[in-house]
Subunit: 274 residues, 4 copies
């Protein structure tokens, strides 16, 4: 297993002068039901600050006011408006589904809908309750190698069938091979399992053990996938930078609020610009 | 009566490396009707910043947008959704009821509901209008020694029957013995009465005499109870740190806005990390 | 006409140690219809930061989310809930009516209602569209000497009948004598006409010429009236400090956003604490 | 084509002492349907910070809470309230239509309504989807020389019929002559085509390639038109300053969030005050 280092941030290249928002990708974030809206807001805040060219949040309309109040840079779409959803998804480069999605019939329908819509050139990040829904086993991944799962250990157990105690590097890698997707297995030291290899994140701190840390990571991964070319490289860089910034914040903060990580992204991405 | 000192903050220990949000407790905050939503928002802001692993706010749905806009890290639950409330309460470590709860039939029903749901291993903080409702005397505390009341002097009069003028250490202690709960009696110099002894907070300043200071304290107490082992130690530390931070802010502020105290918690908890 | 100086800020005294939020007054702000909610939010932000012990906003319920999102320290009351309004007004020390109130039937009814409810020991600040409504002449001030009007020049013309070109010190003073209320005549250099004398504010700058400056001033006046004893002294200090802070901000800002003035109040009140 | 330089900011003059909010113009911003509210919020944030005396946002009422939460200084009007819209437009100095307007029947009706209402002394900025709607060709500009279009290259193709590859200085100028309006053609180095000449903005950076940058520019242009006398001078200064600030922010930020540009306007306008 390869230990990630600052080297993995070298994908953060100086942007070409002649660029526009389309150059840095269109990301669509699907989540946030009427109860759990905060999760998708944190993903959106992460995704915009991570540099996605255009970020659209497909969510319950009750979440629009708070989303706009926090981050007007993200666009919103009522997830009940099929026609609008179709058109937004059509032009997406990256789709994230899961944060605050819930686990009811509506959530399941949305996951099926996204699976139907995903196209050959679109990446799909599956996070949070969408992993649990998928783990029920009624769906097939349309494009496994374009899929990134971001489970914590219990979600990985549901998804792979491997119990937490048995989640060894070997067992995890075996399951990744079956799934063919990239797996970001979140824990004390997050591990990435992919067709291109296995990676471990040496960074991170216990101040991150608070609600929203995962939603934020999912947003950064999505934003990086939207603008940087290689899926595994982008995922690794997102995981590493998320923890790196949190470690910086932890020097002065007993708890590291996830939205503080997002707000610090533009600064640290500049510092690491190659 | 023991005078609290910085020593009481020694419970703020370096967090174990191998931890996750469950390690630091699940706190459920119940309050905020359609009129008085700000109170529970301030409790939530305090609780998240105080380091509760997961914070869920059970409130009137009209409060969800503002809650998410201020603090997406806190989850929200519509307090009319019984099934969801049941499941969220089931996994709680600490429950706070009261800030902005109101005093009508709905408020009373919610208090009764929480009393029904509380389990043997859950702590319950009773604040604000929930104290007044309880003082009407129709309810029994399910687990008195797991209960923390946070009355100001008039609420303590309602709860204990002891008039403000008669609220001497002796009389207060006598009533605490009857109730068996921990009492945080808020005043100029807040006093804590408990089965483990009596404590006085030497800190605090008149810039704190503004709406929301108590809601914020209730949130910090709840967040500390969720992550630190001893109930009285956690309560003492919360009371002390709340005033300590307010005293720091008062050097430069004639009025100390409660939300500024909450926002400063991660910084000061780091400073006092043992 | 007496020129105000820093001396007028000497009413900002060190607060007594043994105080609570009731010590610093209860202020009720009435305004903000479904269209013009921002005005009353700015008044609330000013009032809380100015040190009012408890601030309650009586407004259209569509304004509650944004009010809470900006300033959870202010309580909200749906102005259609008569019973709750009655009880909140009953315990008020200061009432402000006008910011974003509108000029329709509902607005007029609310003004009449406040006139009905005002008690002998309550101060009433009349601002913005409430001045225009009152100027229509169908109402009598219940307690003229407890009333403070905060008109700009056109509103003063409507209220007094004196055309802007004729608004000389002498004419203004004559009208104040008839009204018996305190008049804060807002202009380039705001003037205060009262039963205790005439005062001119030497401060202020053209960066303040933006929407919301008046709403903010009305909030500061109300907050000062709630906690400082003399009506004219409190009004003078509010007018002076509002401009003083704006002048500080103008060193670095071409436009002075009113909410920036409010946010700087605790700092400058501390600096001027006597 | 004249290259813009700092010289173009010399219109940012010290404001006259004896001024009031009317002195700096009334701006009405029309946009933000139930889905795309964030765009008009960013325009409003830009417009207020750019110094427009009074800023009113005519929008879907679902956007009011977030607008107020972010920027209470901007007033809101429900765009379904014809009577109120009529009166607000009547006193406008500058009207902006487009950000988040959408492209449906309602959007088209609003554009037609604005064309009906525009008066001889009012400037009209047409941005975003309003350009696409206008390009359909069913409408005539009421006052071409008082109109400013702010298309990106694809919108300019729709408006002028000139394909992106053919958008040379000569071709663009020819189309501007036909339209008689001022054209702000947004790209890597934005160009301004007007009856007074052609100008190129040498500033800007790829960190600006994110959603909302154009909405923010439209807000600054509108705010500058409201307070500075010459249309082309005001437009040039807005374009230049928008990029200048973004370039300052880019020293420390890989991505330049549009709302950060707006928030920095008062500071930089002060620095460039002549």
């Amino acid at each position: 297993m390869q230990r990630l280092s600052k080297q993995c941030l070298s994908i953060i290249q100086t942007r070409p002068q002649n660029s526009h928002k389309g150059t840095f990708g269109r990301t669509v974030l699907v989540g946030g039901n009427a109860q759990f809206g905060g999760a998708i807001m944190m993903s959106a805040e992460a995704c915009v600050n991570a540099g996605s060219g255009l970020t659209t949040v497909m969510t319950d309309p009750s979440n629009h006011p708070a989303l706009h109040a926090r981050m007007p840079e993200a666009m919103t779409v009522d997830w009940n408006d099929k026609e609008l959803c179709d058109s937004v998804l059509d032009s997406a480069d990256v789709i994230l589904i899961g944060p605050g999605l819930g686990e009811d019939k509506k959530s399941q329908d949305l996951l099926s809908y996204i699976f139907q819509k995903q196209k050959e050139d679109q990446l799909l990040v599956i996070d949070g309750s969408a992993i649990t829904l998928f783990a029920k086993g009624n769906e097939q991944l349309p494009y496994p190698t374009q899929t990134i799962f971001t489970p914590h250990q219990m979600e990985w157990q549901r998804l792979s069938g491997v119990k937490i105690a048995d989640q060894t590097e070997e067992n995890n890698q075996k399951e990744q091979k079956k799934l063919q997707a990239t797996i970001v297995l979140k824990s004390h030291h997050t591990e990435i399992y992919s067709n291109q290899g296995r990676f471990q994140n040496p960074l991170g701190n216990p101040g991150m053990a608070t609600g929203g840390t995962g939603d934020t990571l999912a947003g950064i991964i999505s934003g990086f996938l939207a603008q940087f070319p290689d899926t595994v490289d982008a995922t690794n860089a997102a995981v590493y930078l998320h923890s790196y910034i949190a470690d910086q914040l932890a020097h002065d903060n007993y708890v590291v609020l996830p939205t503080k990580i997002s707000q610090a992204l533009p600064y640290w991405m500049k510092k690491f610009e190659h």
